[in-house]
């Protein structure tokens, strides 16, 4: 079983190497998620000569303790921590975009290229096929999310106020990047696979699959609406996504019906 999963996984990685354009959407999202926070927290104050902590809105936020005062950080550093923590949630959308992009390419693309039927004619089981397809999209998505996170932290270390980086390297941040992000990406992936199995054609599969990004995108706005993404909320999200993933895994195997994929899609 492992050897067949590894064989197909190798094929998936080779496919990605030969189709780097799959990474274009995530390149755009990744660059946006890196550029926007630095523009707001560092570039704009530097260009205007006005510190963020001097703006009336942030002064009020600090007074109302919506922006937490961290020991050893001046008010400007505290505002930067608040902003960079908020934008850290962008790191959630990176693996989700990669995963849905790759999975719609790998599952639907196989059918479109008429390469799925020969594959299904091998001893490959449905579980093995789904495992390889899922890992083939999930592992690169995690890798890229970690690369973005590393770049994000590296950039902050270079240009932000002293002490901002150490304030950011918290259990909450690592939970977001190492747990919430991968689980969200896995859920999106499995949902795309489920949709692909039941959709009548590849276009509707892709359209329904892309809708899965929306709830994740919604969570990005939360911090800016005053909902603080505390460690407890993040861990609750992790627990919920874990359960969702277990359910989706069962559903994916059940609905990935070889027959309907072979006979329904023309």
């Amino acid at each position: 079983m492992i050897s067949r999963i590894r064989a197909l996984l190798g094929k998936e990685f080779l496919d990605l190497r030969l189709n780097p354009s799959v990474f274009l959407p995530v390149g755009i999202v990744g660059i946006m998620s890196l550029v926007i926070p630095f523009m707001i927290a560092v570039v704009v104050p530097a260009v205007t000569g006005e510190r963020l902590s001097d703006s009336p809105d942030f002064e009020m936020a600090i007074e109302q303790q919506r922006v937490r005062q961290t020991p050893g950080l001046d008010p400007e550093g505290a505002v930067q921590v608040w902003l960079f923590e908020g934008f850290l949630l962008f790191m959630l959308i990176v693996p989700v975009v990669v995963a849905t992009g790759i999975s719609s390419h790998s599952v639907v693309g196989e059918k479109r290229a008429r390469t799925l039927e020969p594959l299904l004619a091998t001893p490959l089981t449905t579980f093995e096929l789904l495992a390889a397809k899922t890992l083939g999209a999930w592992l690169p998505s995690i890798g890229l999310a970690l690369l973005c996170f590393g770049t994000y932290i590296g950039g902050i270390a270079l240009v932000a106020e002293p002490g901002v980086v150490s304030a950011l390297l918290s259990t909450r941040s690592f939970s977001v990047v190492l747990l919430l992000g991968p689980l969200a990406s896995l859920a999106a992936l499995q949902a795309t696979v489920c949709v692909s199995s039941r959709a009548k054609d590849e276009r509707s599969a892709q359209q329904w699959g892309s809708l899965i990004v929306l709830p994740i995108a919604g969570s990005l706005i939360a911090p800016f609406l005053g909902v603080e993404m505390t460690l407890a909320i993040v861990l609750t999200g992790v627990a919920v996504l874990f359960v969702v993933n277990v359910v989706l895994m069962r559903v994916a195997i059940k609905v990935f019906d070889r027959e309907s994929i072979l006979t329904r899609w023309k």
Partner: protein
């Protein structure tokens, strides 16, 4: 060996295959003939364990092909799909290597190299599949279907759309598989190909209309006829014979031996005794196309 018993497959209200039974023999080439939409591909997919029958069973070496056993049994079956289904951006070698590994072959690289040699594609090993001609793509797909030395090879229209040279190349490879005691099931519209290669033929139009050797089907539908060419006009001699089932065309006689109630040596003796100069005696074989069309028409009318 692979066998189907009372196979029926429905898609919604539409019945694609109905009550099909057949048993394949080791080392034979078995042709599935039928019109478009006649159920050939559905039959092959059921035989390959890709789709389950609505009713009936498929067995391989007496073991039923079910949802639980199909993955394991597919190890013994090779399937060439209607389209080659190669990963276009992968090289020929990369395409085959993935399948060698999926089949768990012990030395995948060596097996692939040997297969490329055997199928005459070694010189294109590192070319992307997208750059290959249709004939070469089909060769690669055939190599892929036979990579794991399956005991049964199912081929869905293997020479469709190929030029004559490529088609012959593919036919040679199929013949080689038979020589290696593989059982080959061939779905095709190419009657000439069936004539040349098939040991047995099944004519399918949703239901099985006929199953036999091409010669037996011919005899069943058209009887056993002899064609006799004479040196002189045949009409006066035919009249003198006083036999039923005789038709005349110039100096050629066509005799239905069963209707005439006579054997070939007796017929020749009687013609010679009547003063005929017999130039040639040969069995008259209507083309398989006539057999096929007759069966399809009979199937439609019934």
């Amino acid at each position: 060996m692979l066998a189907a018993s009372h196979l029926t497959r429905q898609f919604g209200d539409r019945v694609a295959v109905e009550d099909l039974s057949l048993e394949l023999r080791p080392g034979e080439i078995f042709a599935l003939l039928g019109p478009n939409g006649g159920g050939k591909t559905t039959t092959l997919r059921m035989l390959a364990g890709l789709i389950a029958p609505t009713a009936g069973t498929v067995t391989l070496d007496d073991e039923p092909v079910t949802r639980d056993t199909s993955a394991r049994l597919r190890q013994r079956v090779g399937f060439l799909t209607e389209t080659p289904g190669l990963w276009d951006q992968f090289s020929v070698r990369q395409n085959l290597l993935v399948y060698a590994r999926l089949h768990g072959l012990p030395r995948p690289a060596q097996t692939v190299d040997d297969a490329m040699e055997q199928f005459g594609i070694r010189d294109r090993a590192h070319d992307a599949a997208a750059t290959l001609s249709k004939g070469l793509r089909q060769r690669v797909a055939l190599a892929r279907a036979m990579l794991h030395q399956p005991q049964v090879i199912l081929l869905d229209e293997p020479t469709s759309g190929l030029d004559p040279e490529s088609a012959r190349g593919v036919r040679d490879l199929i013949a080689r598989a038979r020589a290696n005691h593989r059982t080959v099931v061939l779905s095709t519209h190419n009657l000439d190909e069936v004539e040349r290669m098939a040991d047995r033929v099944a004519v399918l139009r949703r239901r099985l209309l006929a199953l036999d050797t091409p010669a037996a089907l011919r005899q069943r539908l058209f009887g056993s006829r002899m064609r006799i060419v004479l040196a002189q006009p045949a009409a006066p001699l035919a009249a003198g014979l006083g036999l039923h089932g005789v038709s005349v065309d110039g100096s050629t006689l066509s005799v239905d031996l069963a209707a005439a109630g006579i054997t070939t040596p007796d017929l020749v003796r009687r013609l010679a005794a009547a003063g005929a100069d017999v130039l040639m005696v040969a069995p008259e074989e209507p083309p398989l196309e006539d057999v096929y069309l007759r069966l399809i028409q009979e199937g439609a009318s019934s």
